[in-house]
């Protein structure tokens, strides 16, 4: 209407203000992103500084390679080697157990399952990923260990095998869901191409689908492995915690102690400032370094696999080796030898020979099978694996539900604990867990979304961005017990928060920060570039574009990440073990500096500290599962709704 007056607007001033605003906002997101890096740097520095006295006083080599961890002996010995070996053995065992089962299940779900079964099983398995580790530990302690002791006729079931089986079960859902994603996203054309050449379904799966999904499946395995290495509570409850290197090393019935277990057990009792205290920080440092190494190695492998799969770059040597038929034989032969060695140390020479012979027979038989026989045999194995997975998870759930249900009552849900938790209820623990989670999310959500906006929208791939990204990765790989250790020494002692809700919230918030950053960044990247260009072309500023065009369609993704974080924060024990949790509380906390009860901690104490509380222990486990399960169910439902709506916001 008034073109002249518009033209005379004081343009420079306007431009200046919005320019400034843009800068402020940009800086804000950068600051959010830097928090992740600072946190990692700070945690690492903290561990190293506190561990340094141990290295200095005892000697670096003596700490790293000493074969005895015996802090109370005279003279005390602080050799980390047996602990590191314990961690590696348990993790390796868990992977040997979990990888075949979960990859088989993922193949079944992605390739063979009728849609109805798939739509039922897939969310169920994702739900299981949310079962808190202390619940698994509790089950392992009560059922698995005893079962091993009786069925192998050994003095005690607390062993590498118990830890491996339990950790394996715990990593099943993670590996299955992520591998299944990878398998399902193999383009349909590959399958059709192979089938059209007259390949059987099994040949297509084995030679085309699985190799194409290999990067994703590898990522899934590494994710599971990271979880296994960093797991504390469950492992601590079933491995026996004897700081020995099994002899022979394949003796899976020997007890062991892991790095995480050592921290979980000893941190609470050690005299602060003593040499033993610093040695525990050395343990934490080694643990962190191992997880970081796994993460870095993993991303290197993934990059190469990805490069060779997408045809960019020359074929990787790894893929080439995997593809060679002779090398393909090496894996089963190795497996047979390993199985024989384990059988030898468990049962003696005869079973060992039997296992080895069976393995060789199998190897000899496989190439002689016709294609149809091979397919039948392979599918049979797949079905068996799926049945095993479903049975294992069902047994655990059934055990807890059937024994936990009788404990549930109005009084149990609304009362305070009495008689050390044997009687009374868990209301303060439910409230405490909700408070901890709310605080953690209140902290992590703005920071995480801000960081993700920086990474996804204001990206300029430079040194800083790469640094931030590695920071997020490393934070993501940091074991939860390390967060607990850091929270205890830094927030509780150094900042004098005391054992308090606040310390727990901040610690948990740091722990879930990378999850929120990653899921948010992922959601932002899914928003088509065209939308951004459309908005910018209309003269919108970048922030306007992000706020009005990019964030709304990304909201469901961000919500999913948030809810997953809620589930994780609600179920974790290790980070609040020393920072926030009290065993008993008659009144609810009234300030952030009060300690709180929390469900996972309550369960842990009941299971390990209070004899004769079995019914309430099962009841607490059930409530915890229901709580976390409800959170996951909401996530899955939300995602399904948005998927059905085509991802468009309503």
């Amino acid at each position: 209407m008034h073109p002249t007056s518009t033209a005379r607007l004081p343009a420079p001033a306007r431009a200046g203000r919005s320019h400034l605003e843009e800068h402020a906002i940009r800086a804000l997101w950068l600051a959010c992103a830097l928090v992740a890096v600072l946190a990692v740097g700070f945690i690492l520095a903290f561990l190293v500084v506190y561990g340094l006295p141990a290295f200095a006083e005892i000697g670096v080599l003596e700490v790293l390679l000493g074969d005895s961890w015996s802090p109370t002996a005279t003279p005390p010995a602080f050799g980390i080697l047996p602990l590191a070996v314990g961690t590696l053995l348990v993790t390796l065992g868990a992977m040997l157990f979990a990888v075949p089962l979960s990859v088989a299940t993922a193949i079944y779900l992605g390739e063979l399952a009728p849609p109805r079964v798939r739509n039922l099983v897939r969310p169920a398995i994702e739900l299981l990923a949310g079962i808190p580790s202390v619940v698994f530990g509790f089950f392992g302690l009560i059922v698995l260990v005893e079962w091993l002791r009786v069925s192998f006729a050994v003095p005690s079931g607390e062993s590498v095998l118990a830890g491996s089986l339990l950790l394996g079960v715990m990593t099943l859902p993670t590996i299955i869901s992520v591998s299944e994603d990878a398998i399902s996203s193999v383009p349909r054309e590959f399958r059709e191409g192979s089938l059209a050449l007259g390949a059987t379904r099994w040949q297509t799966i084995r030679r085309v689908v699985v190799p194409s999904a290999l990067p994703g499946v590898t990522a899934a395995i590494i994710l599971g492995m990271g979880r296994a290495i960093g797991e504390t509570m469950a492992v601590m409850m079933v491995t026996g915690n004897a700081a020995v290197i099994p002899s022979p090393i394949t003796d899976v019935l020997s007890p062991v102690r892991t790095l995480t277990g050592t921290l979980g057990i000893e941190m609470g009792e050690v005299a602060i400032g003593s040499l033993h205290y610093h040695a525990l920080f050395a343990v934490a440092t080694v643990l962190l370094v191992i997880t970081l190494a796994v993460n870095l190695g993993a991303s290197a492998i993934l990059r190469r696999l990805n490069a060779s799969a997408t045809g960019r770059g020359s074929p990787s040597r790894l893929a080439a080796v995997l593809g060679r038929p002779r090398a393909g034989m090496a894996v089963p032969v190795l497996a047979a030898v390993l199985a024989a060695a384990v059988a030898h140390s468990v049962g003696g020479l005869l079973p060992a020979l039997a296992v080895f012979a069976a393995g060789l027979l199998l190897l000899a038989a496989v190439p002689r099978l016709s294609r149809n026989q091979a397919e039948k045999a392979a599918f049979l194995l797949l079905y068996l694996a799926v049945a095993a997975v479903v049975a294992i998870l069902a047994i655990i759930l059934l055990d807890i539900v059937s024994k936990g249900l009788p404990a549930l009552s109005w009084e149990f849900l609304t009362g305070s604990p009495r008689d050390l938790g044997r009687a009374g209820g868990i209301f303060p623990a439910i409230v405490g867990t909700l408070c901890l989670v709310a605080g953690a999310i209140a902290l992590a959500l703005p920071l995480g979304v801000g960081a993700a906006i920086h990474l996804a929208e204001y990206r300029r791939e430079n040194r800083l961005t790469r640094l931030i990204r590695s920071g997020v990765d490393l934070l993501n790989g940091t074991p939860s017990i390390v967060f607990g250790l850091f929270g205890f020494t830094f927030f509780v002692l150094y900042l004098e928060f005391g054992v308090s809700m606040l310390a727990g919230q901040v610690t948990l918030g740091l722990m879930v920060l990378p999850t929120i950053i990653r899921t948010t960044e992922e959601a932002l990247r899914q928003v088509p570039q065209g939308l951004r260009e459309g908005s910018l072309a209309l003269g919108a500023t970048q922030w306007q574009t992000v706020r009005r065009v990019v964030l709304p369609p990304a909201a469901p993704g961000i919500l999913t990440g948030t809810i997953l974080s809620v589930g994780r924060a609600a179920g974790e024990t290790a980070p609040i073990l020393f920072t926030a949790a009290v065993f008993s509380q008659r009144h609810l906390p009234s300030s952030l500096l009060d300690p709180v009860m929390a469900l996972p901690y309550h369960l842990f104490v009941l299971a390990t500290n209070v004899p004769g509380a079995q019914q309430n222990t099962y009841g607490t486990a059930l409530v915890l599962i229901l709580l976390v399960g409800a959170v996951y169910a909401v996530t899955i439902a939300v995602r399904a709704r948005y998927r059905a709506a085509g991802g468009a916001p309503g």
Binding site: A24, A243, H276, C435, L443, V582, R586, P611
Partner: protein
């Protein structure tokens, strides 16, 4: 010029905003919990945090429950974590009372000079086995040889032919330290001993396992395990409140409440209650041995 100004100004702004978000988030959660009721007139009121040793935890919890029944204005929170968590918490003044199943270490007295331990109970350490274990009694030497890994079968100490599974406390625990001091001497513990981080965990591992041996405080004795009498000067002594109290049972120690710079207010009242006649009755009921003469 403008960009120069903004580089100085904006990060500061960002920091303020983040701080605000953080505070807002936390306060928001604080409000979701209902505050503790303020007490009726009469008894001492306020909040007391008691934290530390898992061995002392049951008795402290029982004391606290009774005390809160008597004084509804008082809110006593008892948490575990371990002796040193308790001692550090008191030293750092994040808790009023620390529970310890061991005396103070040099490192601790050096760091926190004002710490004062008060013994509130005595605890006998019982050697426990599976209820079906037929071994009649053990000498301290035999217990030591078992935990040193030199005796590995029950038949060598008068039991069935069955492999021994030694279960003990983690190396940082006060109980382990006391056991080492009293039983092991300079002999080192076998590396194959299974380590547990609480009395309850030892008890529940021994209960189902016919070959197991463990040690726990008297408070953890129940029908699921059998306490083995220890042979002292030719006579077998059952671990019990009487035998510990009269000094016949050889493996007993003191449990402490630790305060910093002398207890005041509610903490002082609570410790006084623990040492009172009623308090010591509770101590005894929880399976510990009263300290007051």
């Amino acid at each position: 010029m403008q960009s120069h100004r903004s580089t100085l100004f904006l990060p500061g702004l960002a920091a303020v905003v983040i701080g605000a978000l953080l505070v807002a988030g936390c306060t928001g959660t604080g409000e979701t919990a209902t505050p503790a009721p303020t007490g009726p007139p009469g008894g001492p009121a306020g909040r007391l945090s008691v934290t530390g040793s898992t061995t002392v935890l049951p008795v402290a919890q029982a004391l606290a429950e009774r005390y809160m029944d008597l004084n509804s204005g008082a809110d006593i929170q008892v948490s575990g974590g371990g002796s040193s968590v308790g001692i550090a918490a008191v030293g750092e003044k994040t808790a009023e009372i620390g529970m310890a199943s061991r005396g103070l270490k040099d490192a601790e007295t050096a760091k926190y000079a004002a710490l004062e331990p008060v013994a509130i109970a005595r605890d006998g350490i019982a050697v426990i086995v599976h209820p079906s274990n037929a071994v009649a009694h053990l000498t301290l030497d035999q217990v030591r040889e078992i935990y040193a890994g030199n005796v590995t079968n029950w038949k060598d100490v008068g039991g069935q032919d069955r492999q021994i599974v030694a279960i003990g406390r983690d190396s940082a625990s006060g109980t382990r330290e006391f056991f080492t001091e009293k039983v092991m001497g300079t002999t080192s513990t076998t590396a194959t001993m299974l380590e547990k981080n609480s009395n309850g965990a030892i008890q529940s591992s021994v209960a189902p396992n016919p070959g197991a041996i463990g040690y726990v405080g008297l408070g953890y004795l129940d029908a699921t395990v059998r306490a083995v009498p220890l042979q002292v000067d030719g006579t077998a002594v059952e671990p019990s409140i009487e035998t510990v109290a009269d000094g016949r049972y050889p493996v007993a120690r003191e449990l402490y409440f630790v305060t910093s710079g002398g207890a005041t207010g509610l903490a002082q009242e609570f410790i006084a209650f623990a040492l009172s006649g009623e308090g010591q009755q509770i101590v005894e009921k929880e399976g510990f041995i009263p300290v007051a003469a």
